[in-house]
């Protein structure tokens, strides 16, 4: 865990990434709070907070007494969310760095095209 950021947010992001990658398909059961806490070596209350964040967003749903599951449509919604954030989270810092190195937009675009062809 990254010590500088709230752990419950990292727990939520971690589960989101697994849903995005298809490791947790829609309808699949998510590890229990206790399993998450033991695996990540964190306080169970913190794990619960992270999972509840996803329940509130509708990414996960609870079935009383059984466990937590990935909601239908969660994958596509997360994908859309991450895509809309991509510019802010990844392109903006890239452009900033490119500027400080004196790279032109054309040069950066060429590099991106090359990288994406790999």
């Amino acid at each position: 865990m990254d010590e500088g950021r709230p752990i419950f947010i990292q727990v939520a992001e971690n589960l989101e990434s697994q849903i995005l990658a298809g490791d947790l398909p829609e309808g699949a059961q998510v590890p229990s709070i206790n399993e998450l806490a033991a695996f990540l070596r964190i306080n169970p209350a913190t794990a619960l907070k992270g999972v509840n964040l996803l329940v509130d967003q509708g990414t996960l749903f609870k079935r009383r007494g059984i466990g937590m599951f990935v909601a239908e449509g969660a994958h596509d919604r997360l994908m859309a969310e991450r895509r809309s954030e991509f510019s802010q989270s990844h392109v903006a810092p890239l452009v900033q760095q490119a500027r400080s190195l004196g790279l032109t937009a054309q040069e950066v675009q060429t590099m991106i095209s090359k990288e994406m062809e790999k």
């Binding site: 010590e3 950021r5 709230p6 752990i7 070596r41 306080n43 913190t46």
Partner: protein
């Protein structure tokens, strides 16, 4: 939820020294909490007061709603593992465990036996002949297997190596999950224990200087690095915990930045990084006091 510990205006003086100075807080039932602070900050004294091993100079203590002083019905529900525990001369590990079984109503002998294996604790040698780590191991076993409703662990792993400490964290977490209770862990190995803690109480020179949710603290403080003039103009009027300058580059650590502030800092060309719980506490308690400076 019920408060298992309620403390108001608690003060303990040793001569002119205020080891605990006007401390007020309460702990709800359940959870693993950290009592953090530098050596000599007053952590052990505070826990000794809560378990009636010391008597308060002033203030009020309620444990399970009652004063703990000479109160067997309260103290039977509380376990306090001290780093500096003194045992009777001939006492061996097995005697310690036997007395614990007698003293703690929820004692789990099978679990204790499992922990003895796990920590490789010697039971047949006098406690005073054991190494620091071995004595700590026995303390940890008593602290966990007692399953007391309120458990204080004061630097429980002094002298334990990294492997044994990791085992202790894993056992603490697993057993707490199965048998939820209130655990107060005092430690200066903040980085190691930080992820286990739900709430953090920081004590400095006898005073309670921080009482907050551990996850709220994480990310509440940011270090900004950039051109000195940019840094200074951004930091003006904010809660600056720490600053340093090298050449034309300055670094400040600021509390209470929201997302807008962080975006503003980024567009001002400042590089931001979050501060870990340990760093945050070091910065809050590391200031040189008047006493030290004199």
């Amino acid at each position: 939820m019920n408060a298992v510990v309620e403390v108001a205006g608690l003060t303990k003086k040793y001569g002119a020294v205020r080891a605990v100075d006007d401390v007020t807080f309460s702990l709800e039932e359940g959870g693993i909490h950290g009592l953090l602070g530098r050596n000599g900050a007053g952590k052990t004294t505070l826990m000794s007061l809560l378990t009636a091993q010391e008597f308060a100079t002033a203030g009020d203590i309620r444990v399970f709603g009652e004063s703990p002083v000479e109160n067997a019905s309260v103290l039977g529900r509380v376990c306090f593992i001290k780093e500096s525990q003194v045992y009777p001369d001939a006492f061996k590990g097995k005697h310690v465990l036997r007395s614990a079984a007698w003293f703690f109503p929820h004692w789990d002998g099978d679990y204790a036996a499992k922990l003895v294996e796990l920590f490789n604790a010697p039971l047949d040698r006098p406690m005073k002949k054991l190494s620091r780590g071995q004595r700590s191991a026995i303390g940890v076993i008593v602290g966990l297997a007692s399953r007391a409703e309120l458990t204080f662990l004061d630097e429980p792993y002094a002298g334990l190596d990294a492997v044994a400490r990791r085992r202790f964290y894993d056992e603490l977490l697993a057993d707490y999950t199965e048998h939820p209770r209130t655990i107060v862990l005092s430690t200066h190995l903040i980085d190691e224990a930080a992820d286990l803690l739900e709430r953090v109480l920081v004590i400095h020179e006898g005073k309670l200087v921080m009482d907050a949710d551990a996850d709220e603290l994480r990310g509440s403080v940011t270090t900004l690095v950039g051109r000195a003039s940019d840094v200074e103009s951004f930091a003006a009027g904010r809660d600056v915990l720490d600053r340093s300058t090298i050449g034309g580059i300055a670094s400040v650590t600021i509390a209470g930045l929201n997302d807008n502030d962080k975006a503003a800092a980024a567009s001002a060309g400042l590089e931001a990084s979050s501060v870990s719980l340990q760093d945050l506490i070091v910065r809050r308690t590391g200031a040189i006091s008047e006493g030290e400076a004199a």
